[in-house]
Amino acid sequence: MQALAQPRRREILELVRAREMSAGDIATHFDLTRPAISQHLKVLRDSRLVTERRDGTRRFYRARPEGLSDLRKFLELFWDYRLGMLKDAAESDQTRRAGRGASPEPSEGKGDSDSDVS
């Protein structure tokens, strides 16, 4: 399942990110057949990146915002954590090096409580 490997599907997702749109309206934005659009929408729906609402014979689609949030949350924390470790390691090297010569700022490299990760 590669819901977003296909550029068209990413474009569809972008279209319905801010507002709900019918399948027909979505189709007017692309130079694709209706069956091809329907197929893309089905993949997006099956992977739970969009929600589908039926009204009579019409179908409306909208992006599920929470579909994107977990990966972002994970990576934000992942890099905060890793870069925090990088900062500690680099600064402990620096402290060691400074300790051999003139040390302008004799601080403990490890256990630096004041992390600048933003």
Partner: protein
């Protein structure tokens, strides 16, 4: 604007010169101090970037750009991840280093992430997220097991 690009940007100030910080992205002995346990690196465009981050998570990619002391770009993903996860080479991490007096401002930009990873792997993310929070609070999260069922 044709896609829902997921971009992660981080900026951090490190009290060490750029030369030192740069080595943490190009030298195996240095990279394992913040990013894993074992590494195989060939910091030249097209060269391998392979870091065993945890016993079960292997980060794989290739260096794209290596400009001594100012910029490192590499592709990045997890070995064995499905196409809708973050497989090797599927995303790109750019590291920019700017001198600020004796310190370095590091900017990390992670782009090209496959948004579809989210739903299918939500359980995995939640699991890892929980571990990071524990580690961040100074606790021991216990043996890692992100490969298996949980």
């Amino acid at each position: 604007m044709t896609s829902v690009d997921l971009v992660i940007t981080k900026e951090i100030r490190i009290e060490a010169p750029r030369e030192t910080v740069f080595s943490f992205f190009t030298e195996p002995d240095q990279i394992v101090r913040w990013s894993g346990t074992e590494a195989d690196l060939n910091p030249t465009p097209g060269g391998i970037y392979k870091v065993q981050m945890t016993p079960e998570a292997l980060a794989l990619g290739e260096y794209v750009e290596v400009t001594p002391h100012s910029r490192v770009v590499f592709t990045w993903g997890w070995d064995g991840a499905p196409a809708d996860g973050v497989p090797p080479g599927s995303s790109t991490v750019a590291i920019d280093l700017k001198a600020d007096g004796d310190a370095t401002i590091l900017t990390l930009t992670h782009t090209g992430l496959p948004e579809a990873a989210v739903e299918q792997h939500a359980g995995g993310w939640d699991y890892f997220l929980g571990r990071l929070v524990v580690v961040g609070a100074g606790g021991d999260p216990g043996p890692i097991n992100i490969g298996g069922p949980h």
